[in-house]
Symmetry: C2
Subunit: 195 residues, 2 copies
């Protein structure tokens, strides 16, 4: 979605100390046209001033609000293998307000071991954990073979979004509002666009 592109651009502009910006300048910072920028922004409210442009700080804040970027999210990682461990210890999640609340694995020899500040929990506790801790996001870091089953389980337990790192595309239940673009899909699109 284009809003997230605007948001990043505005963040950069604010970091650079810019005070105001025009739709024209925003358009140049990406691919679109100034008309498109104005239309996109106007849909969510009147952020600009005619004859002047947009206040960088104000627009940046507004975009973050619209995108829900200031919200905290609760996450579980499913799979405590190399990938699940790497993702748990990653800074990318916390940095964006995605708090990793638990890590689960079906392999009992991993259960009880530590991954950073967390202790690996057994899979049978996942469902209840999601419900009591109101986890919104599930990260699938299990094998291709197990991935779909885990996605179904996460969906049934009440998770609203799935980030899939398993090497196969998933079908998700309708209660899932968002799922990441699968790595497998990325690879297929790559294949197409590279000819």
């Amino acid at each position: 979605m284009r809003l997230s592109v605007y948001s990043r651009l505005l963040q950069r502009l604010e970091d650079e100390g810019a005070v105001k910006v025009s739709s024209q300048e925003i358009a140049e910072g990406m691919d679109g046209s100034s008309a498109q920028v104005r239309k996109d922004l106007a849909y969510f409210g009147e952020f600009g001033t005619r004859g002047v442009g947009y206040d960088v700080r104000l627009l940046n804040r507004s975009l973050k609000k619209i995108l829900g970027l200031e919200k905290n999210r609760s996450v579980v990682i499913v799979g405590a293998g190399r990938l699940g461990t790497a993702l748990t210890l990653y800074n990318g999640f916390e940095r964006r307000g995605f708090q990793i609340k638990g890590i689960f694995d079906q392999d009992m020899s991993k259960v009880g071991t530590r991954v950073g500040a967390l202790t690996v929990s057994p899979m049978y506790k996942l469902n209840e954990f999601i419900k009591t801790d109101q986890i919104q996001i599930g990260v699938v870091a299990v094998s291709a073979a197990a991935a779909q089953e885990i996605a179904d389980l996460l969906g049934r337990a009440g998770v609203r979004a799935i980030l899939n790192f398993a090497p196969r595309p998933l079908t998700v239940p309708p209660e899932i509002k968002y799922r990441s673009v699968d790595l497998a899909v990325n690879m297929e699109m790559l294949s197409f666009y590279m000819g």
Copy 2:
């Protein structure tokens, strides 16, 4: 792109032993309409038979061909940390014809260590390696701080596609034909769609 959805559906149908399929049935297996399915397919050729439908095996083959799914691709992994290691040892790449030809890290204490069948190479060898081995795809598995620099380096060296696993969005040079949807972008879109 929708072709990849068709491709997966057709693969499943073939696995299930289906012999023929109609645009109507394909449409039901996803979200679109039968007219859209016919239009999409007709754009690439005449794969169906009027009054009959599409031959599952033939269409599946054709789609794979169009998507370039049967081609072999050469890949380097940049970053031999937890994530780079996990990705290298992953089966998701090889399984789809993405051959991992090398893994690189700037940390000299990692250089020379083994990751599966590969030995970690020093970063200064990356450029030449890409050129002599005609590497098409670079996987970015370095820190957020280093990611953009690596992407630039990969682009200059001649890589045509980038799969980014660093926790920040990248801007890529125009010679890059494809780049994966960044994890950071996935997280922002998630945020928007979850409200």
